[in-house]
């Protein structure tokens, strides 16, 4: 139970250093040029070749598309250059994932899951030998990666998995079944997390291993029939006493649960990148629609209500983009553990993307309900992002429970932002400082009042997480916008300033509502009804 500093202080202490970095798409000029080049090709290829309607109709991306992605090197985005990949930072790689997702959620999910969650172990934790054996083929797209954690009885409760890594006559073997494996059907390499009692001197414990699906005993089941994301394969994979060479263990035996959490942390950032791309595309499509659609003698974008809704959607997109950039920066600069930051990016990103796409669909009226416009597909595709790689409801509980370990002294005093921002953002910064003070006092008071009894109060935890996420979002927006608008007066910075101001206002309202809910206490009416109709 490590005592960690809170989510805010380290970022606030580096406020002025982080801000300028959030405007760039890579760590170096060279990386920024690589990103620009890949983005050009993503736009060229996707505009011409990626037909979302066709992907959904056939229920698969298709080998031709996978080959095209492989040929362009997009399966090697995060793989180090020494193994034939592009060696991109998280900041850079997530830019690519976002761009692909503007065109198609299925293709983006395939590439982003491969680049993020599925390859984290091999790229960051595996031995050099294992990396040399697999990463060159993966970078070349000859093997596509998948991550196997979920089981029929182990979803968010990852620790309760039954898939077993055991030793028999000196040989490691894997037995069990993993469900909802994204990319599973066409995967050429699997990272599997399994329970491993007795191995490595640990009585319980879990171990992460690399599995080649062509090995004897690996059986791929039929494709799932899903609500959305029809393109990437999603299947169950059975492991019937599969022999696992010892050198295919990733990291230390019995430490796999921690490693799986690390991989999920990375993966959630890539998922947030996809959510951002979907939301950006929805805004763009809705903007085009309201600019052309005439009702009551005016285009829709002339109506104040429509304009305000569009502005709100744009502010939400800016928030998601900024939080993601901040999380990537913290990771790339190795300035801290991003477990909670990426949780914020994932939850906030998936929920805002859902809301933005829903709003975009609404603004498009009846057209938004028609399959060919692409909006229904966006809505279906983004829905699962609130569920996979950690259901948002459970991630909220994780986030709130983590605050119990935050040193109380640090919650009483935070570095102030208002002296650090340019004049046009001063009001927002002052309101943020005030909000953070209130959140800090509230969290410290909850620590003192409830302690571990907080676990009996999930509703309280959920709203605590809401307050933290909204405040974090506000902080991110101020970090970025303060650097962008500093000493500049261009049309772009005027737009960014207006966006940041609206984003701050919306986030502050959310944080304020969550704080009010926290202090108001239990929802007695809901509890009464639940107790009356649900099993005790």
């Amino acid at each position: 139970m490590p005592g960690k500093t809170n989510l805010f202080t380290p970022i606030l202490e580096a406020f002025r250093q982080i801000g300028p970095r959030l405007a760039t798409s890579g760590r170096t000029q060279e990386e920024q040029e690589v990103v620009a080049s890949i983005l050009r090709e993503v736009n060229r290829y996707c505009r011409k070749e990626v037909d979302g309607l066709a992907i959904d109709r056939r229920g698969a991306l298709g080998q031709e598309m996978l080959d095209a992605v492989a040929e362009r090197g997009w399966f090697g985005l995060t793989i180090p250059e020494e193994y034939g990949g592009a060696g991109l930072s998280m900041s850079a790689a997530t830019r690519i994932a976002t761009e692909i997702c503007k065109y198609n959620g299925s293709l983006a999910t395939c590439v982003a899951l491969h680049s993020g969650l599925a390859l984290y172990g091999l790229i960051h934790l595996a031995s050099k030998d294992l990396q040399s054996r697999y990463l060159p083929e993966i970078a070349a797209g000859q093997r596509i990666a998948a991550f196997c954690a979920t089981e029929p009885n182990a979803g968010s409760d990852i620790g309760s998995m039954r898939t077993l890594l055991y030793e028999q006559d000196g040989i490691f073997r894997l037995r069990g079944s993993k469900s909802y494996v994204t990319n599973g059907g066409f995967a050429g390499v699997l990272t599997v997390i399994a329970s491993s009692p007795g191995l490595g001197g640990a009585r319980g414990g879990h171990t992460m291993v690399v599995i080649d699906p062509s090995w004897t005993g690996v059986h791929k089941q039929a494709e799932e029939n899903k609500l959305g994301l029809k393109g990437p394969s999603t299947i169950t994979i059975d492991f019937d006493d599969v022999e696992v060479p010892r050198d295919h263990v990733i990291g230390e035996v019995s430490k796999g649960l921690d490693l799986a959490h690390e991989a999920l942390t990375w993966g959630r950032s890539f998922m947030a990148a996809g959510c951002l791309g979907s939301a950006m595309a929805a805004v763009q499509e809705a903007r085009e629609h309201i600019a052309g659609r005439v009702q009551f003698g005016r285009t829709l974008d002339q109506f104040p209500l429509v304009r305000e809704q569009m502005a709100a959607a744009m502010a939400d997109v800016y928030t998601v983009e900024t939080v993601l950039r901040l999380v990537c920066d913290v990771f790339d600069s190795r300035s801290g553990d991003i477990a909670l930051d990426s949780t914020v990016a994932k939850v906030l990103g998936s929920e805002r993307a859902w809301n933005v796409i829903d709003r975009g669909l609404q603004l498009m009226g009846g057209a938004g309900f028609i399959e060919e416009t692409g909006m229904p597909r966006r809505l279906r595709d983004v829905r699962v992002t609130r569920i996979f790689e950690g259901a948002n409801d459970v991630l909220r509980l994780h986030l709130a429970s983590a605050t119990l370990g935050w040193p109380r002294a640090g919650l009483q005093e935070f570095p102030e932002v208002s002296p650090l921002v340019p004049a046009p953002l001063r009001t927002e910064a002052e309101r943020f400082d005030e909000m953070l003070r209130e959140v800090g006092v509230c969290l410290a008071s909850i620590q003192k009042q409830y302690g571990f009894k907080l676990f009996q109060r999930q509703s309280l935890q959920s709203v605590m997480a809401d307050a933290i996420m909204a405040t974090y979002g506000m902080m991110a927006v101020l970090v970025r916008a303060a650097a962008s608008v500093q000493d500049q007066d261009t049309p772009e910075t005027c737009v960014e300033l207006a966006t940041a101001k609206l984003a701050c206002k919306r986030l502050e309202s959310e944080a304020r509502l969550a704080l009010q809910t926290m202090t108001r206490g239990a929802d007695d009416e809901a509890l009464t009804l639940a107790n009356a109709v649900l099993a005790q």
Partner: protein, 83 residues
């Protein structure tokens, strides 16, 4: 409240661990690490501490339990808190 014996505390901790981790088989030892040996992730570990503090109606300062890593640490923590 009279402080229960160390054996009673051990039994209670074992019982709560088995409730949280019903698939854990075998004897629970004081030297077992909550994470590596029992398979409790951070949320489960918090749940365990929540349940024991609830059971004994303890008001615990979170900062007191930063070093709880094994089953023995949990029992020792309870013993100290109720002394």
């Amino acid at each position: 409240m009279t402080a229960p014996s160390a054996d009673i505390l051990r039994n209670d901790v074992d019982e709560i661990i088995r409730r949280i981790r019903p698939d854990f088989k075998g004897e629970i030892k004081v030297t077992d690490r909550l994470r590596e040996d029992i398979g409790l992730d951070s949320l489960h570990a918090m749940e365990l501490l929540s349940a024991v503090t609830e059971k004994y109606e303890l008001d615990v300062d979170i900062e007191e339990v930063q070093e709880v890593k094994t089953v023995g640490d949990v029992v020792q923590f309870l013993t100290t808190a109720m002394a």
